[in-house]
């Protein structure tokens, strides 16, 4: 008999933004087993982004404990973040930004390479491979600011994959994509999740894009988890509550 290993665990977690008194997420309990793919949905300001930033330790928890593969995020944040590929929400840069797409993708692996070590040929090959997966290899030497919103979004996904993460946290990864990519990228993420065993947590408001590939949905509202389970059941609960 084999037991699935816990990848992400949140125990009674509340997070408060600096200068605010009301927690953005409160008393959240959530467990993701290794190699699970979970979608998080909910209305605006329901705490979805805060949940992702709490998991990778970018926001300090006010209460409770967060661990990733058994490592406490508050005390071992750097080690945890080396294992997490993160794509932030609506990330767009100005046209004059002095970085190429390849620079940005390479950066994804810098934390894992470690201080004082220089990126080697394998790191460069891995970055190009991530770009190839997303069909943006041809854009490698173009300035990031000159790419369209969808292309920039793909660069950010490739950046998250470069470090060969064990966990993927994606915040609205399909938001700026063209219709063709909107079909293609969710399938690619599902494939990566299956082939490379990535534990994946995706925040999205595009419910239709996930139904094909997803077995578990978490619904959030007002900073709390409203429902957690199979898509039809969880989304049904969201529908009745709203």
């Amino acid at each position: 008999m084999t037991y699935a290993k816990t990848a992400i665990r949140l125990e009674d977690v509340s997070t408060v933004y600096e200068g605010e008194s009301r927690p953005a997420i409160r008393d959240v309990n959530l467990t993701l087993e290794e190699n699970e793919l979970v979608y998080v949905v909910g209305p605006n300001a329901s705490g979805k982004t805060t949940l992702l930033e709490t998991i990778n330790g970018l926001l300090p928890t006010f209460k409770g404990r967060v661990s990733v593969f058994g490592l406490d995020v508050q005390t071992q944040g750097r080690r945890v973040r080396c294992e997490i590929g993160y794509v932030p929400q609506d990330f767009m840069v100005e046209p004059g930004e002095p970085y190429t797409a390849f620079d940005i993708v390479m950066m994804g692996g810098y934390g894992k390479i470690g201080i004082l070590n220089r990126p080697n040929e394998r790191n460069r090959e891995r970055a190009l491979e991530a770009m190839r997966l997303l069909d943006i290899e041809g854009l490698a030497h173009r300035p990031l600011g000159k790419l369209s919103g969808g292309q920039q979004q793909k660069v950010m996904i490739a950046r998250a994959l470069t470090k060969e993460p064990r966990v993927l946290l994606l915040d609205e990864p399909f938001s700026n994509l063209d219709p063709e990519s909107k079909e293609k990228i969710p399938s690619l993420i599902s494939r990566l999740h299956e082939e490379e065993g990535l534990t994946t947590l995706i925040v999205t408001h595009e419910v239709h894009s996930m139904l094909k590939s997803c077995r578990r949905v978490v619904v959030m509202n007002n900073g709390r988890i409203l429902a957690d389970g199979a898509p039809e059941k969880a989304l049904g609960k969201w529908g009745t509550s709203s």
């Binding site: 970018l58 973040r81 004059g96």
Partner: protein, 281 residues
Amino acid sequence: MIWLELDIMRRALLGCVLAGFLTGLMGVFVVRMRLSAIGYSMSHGAFAGAALGVATSANPLVTAMFFASATAFLIGPIADKARLHVDTITSIIFPLNMALAFVFLTLTPEIGLTSQVASVLWGSIISLTNSDVVYLVTLCAATVSVIHFVWKELFSIMFNRKLAEADGISTKPFIYLIIFLSGIVVTLSLKLVGGLLIYALLFNPASSALQFLEDMRKIIIASPLIGVATNLSGLMVSLYLDLPVGSCIVLVSTIIFTIAVLLSPKRRRKMENDKNRYCAA
């Protein structure tokens, strides 16, 4: 040229080249990491410290370095403790340092506006000593080495601090490193343009390079070169027109920045984009 044979001029030229290189180099990090407010508070901290050194007959270089570093390192923790924005704290500390500088200078009336005081206020490149040049050379070597070793982390933080943190880079020590190095660079460059104008040397070359270039690796090379060219041109203008060196350097650097903005392809592209967006709407 006869004046090149003078030791004083050789030191002045070397000082211009080294300080221009260092301020141009550090300026890129200060501008890209949005530490400008800390930068100018720190330069005025160095000014206040040097004034204290003059007033108490201590070594102005040491007191300037102490004040610059203290200013830089206090701003963050004070803002955190008081739950105020860094901008608010810098807006308070900036005039405080200026006020302290003038208090220190007037506490000892016998000093008055002596050449030592004037050199703190407006710089005095002819007072550069051989030791000053040695310090600048050492600092150049140390700064370039440090940046070489942690380049990938700085490169990433300059793009986006939050993403760098998300990738597993502890950004705080690198930010402190840049603040610390900038503090020393500002202090050692005080004799060139003085405490009132030094921050122009930190920001103008980097801001000019950023107008033209679209590759951070080129910017990190171009900005120090602009810094060197600015300082040398400022020195020449000052010798030719018999005006203060520091003021001439800042005037030249402002002219270079203005030309860079006017000719900037990036700015033109941005204007076109805004126009297209407006038309589409």
